[in-house]
């Protein structure tokens, strides 16, 4: 098998040209190939939510916000299989936030990859729980007045946790931390920061993919051995 065999034939991604989701999908395929694994991949609803359906594996495209409990059910029935969720920040942290709290607390052995594009992408760029304070979106024309959610701290409210943050520009690092997450014996959460080009990217002047990628590269840096990641720091925090 090569990484290309992980792509479901007969379907093309709906994602915009240059969107970070293409990178995430390709690198996940590479990683599965390298690790010679055929996981069960599941997604919720959104642009990111389309990810599961592009893998030529047994996959599930669930309801908006409900993919974590569905995946937990799958894992409980198939303890022998790797279970990987790929979904958006709105899906996992807003409408599905309660399930993240509790499945992570139950420490179910699965990996959740959250592609955080700072908005609700599929529905046209509304405020999401990760939208930075001050950012203009369709539903915050005057700029958001609230601080974004910190997924890291949600995970850290548990006794055992694994949280990693990366971007699609830091390709090697992204692959490395996803690998660590898959190997982690328990609930592992990986946040991939990748701005939505068409919406918040546009308002931030980063509509061109190269500009967005440069911005990610310039603003984020990899740190090691930190207890807690600050904003704009990429790394792994874990306890267990």
């Amino acid at each position: 098998m090569t990484y290309k065999d992980y792509k479901r034939p007969g379907v093309e991604p709906i994602w915009c040209l240059g969107c970070g989701l293409h990178v995430v999908f390709t690198q996940l395929s590479n990683l599965f190939d390298e690790l010679e694994m055929e996981p069960i991949v599941l997604s919720g609803i959104g642009c990111t939510g389309r990810t599961a359906g592009y893998f030529n594996l047994d996959t599930v495209h669930g309801l908006h916000g409900r993919i974590i409990p569905l995946a937990e059910g799958v894992k409980r029935a198939r303890k022998d299989k790797e279970v990987i969720v790929v979904s958006g920040d709105g899906d996992l942290l807003s409408i599905g936030g309660n399930h993240l709290l509790h499945t992570s607390r139950r420490d179910i052995n699965m990996t959740v990859i959250c592609v955080n594009n700072s908005v609700y992408g599929l529905t046209g760029g509304q405020l999401s729980p990760t939208t930075p304070k001050g950012a203009k979106t369709k539903t915050t024309p005057g700029g958001s007045e609230i601080e974004p959610i910190d997924a890291q701290k949600i995970l850290m409210s548990n006794k055992r946790y694994f949280y990693a943050r990366t971007t699609p520009v830091h390709v090697k690092y992204m692959k490395e931390v996803i690998k660590q997450a898959i190997e982690w014996d328990g609930f592992a959460f990986v946040e991939i920061i990748s701005l939505c080009l068409e919406t918040i990217g546009k308002t931030m002047g980063l509509k061109k993919p190269s500009k967005m990628y440069n911005w990610l590269e310039e603003n984020f840096r990899i740190v090691e051995n930190k207890q807690v990641l600050d904003d704009f720091e990429l790394g792994v925090v874990k306890n267990g």
């Binding site: 007969g10 594996l57 047994d58 996959t59 409990p69 569905l70 059910g73 198939r78 309660n98 399930h99």
Partner: protein, 336 residues
Amino acid sequence: MKKILQGNEAIGLGAIKAGLKFYSGYPITPSSEIMHYLANQDIEFVQTEDELAAVNMAIGASLGGMKSMTSTSGPGFSLMQESIGFAHKIEVPLVIVNVQRVGPSTGMPTMPSQGDISQARYGSHGDYFPIVFYPNSVEECFKYTIEAFNASEESLSPIILLSDAFLSHLYETVDIESINFKIKQRHLKPLGDEKRHFTGLLSKGGIPQTRNSDLYKKWIQKMKEKIEKTSKNYEFFEYIENKDSDTLLIAFGITSRIISPLKENYSIFRPIRLFPILEEKLKEVAEKHKKIVVIEMNEGQYKNEIERVLERKINLIKQTGGSLSLRQIKRELDDI
């Protein structure tokens, strides 16, 4: 051997006999004894954070190869509605028990009602064709839980098993060993080793076809036919004819127990499969009677269904607010 069992326990026991391997649920009166019972069984059991998680986890476990169930009451059943449509769409077997209490909202949490008949049929969005059973004794709670699992495996759809606070809390002696039942095995391959895509999107062979109206029409027709075909193996009802009466009483669940003495003076039809409606049988028995009276614990939810199917005027005797009175029912019958 005879045993004293509660309605809710009989549902739990029936599920185990049917091959239940996974249960997820969120506590709610008057359904909680089902989960208490199952917490003590050798199955995968999760008390979830809410009913949204409960139903989705049960869907996931079922996809993973385990016969699965969740149970709740009206408010939790409302939270599950989006997922019920999803389960129909991706064709996953599942049993959902709704022990009805008086609503809307928190209403009268410990009191029985039959207020979720419409919700059981139409609660999710879009068109779909659910199979709904409603037993009326502790023994039947056991039996029709098993049938619900069988129907779910056969139709690859979520089956709704209705009960009510009265029936679920009833204690009766049951001789479990004397009950005959068959068990349908799983034929859906567990998630993990194939290359399928289970999606809520209209799709063909795992590939989304979200603007293909012709495909949708074919698909919905197929769904309808699938449920109709399965339903033929689950034509559950009871009919007691009284040749001296020109009036047919229709009741189900606990209400049918309360009116059972009326068989001396009236014919009684009791659907056990509420949906799809037992149309042919209903038409056949309706023809023999001048008057038809539906007795139910709501404002006429099933009466409206019967009226639609039979295309004639149907009388309603409603028993609402959690109270059931045979005397009041008799009085109203005298007036009809």
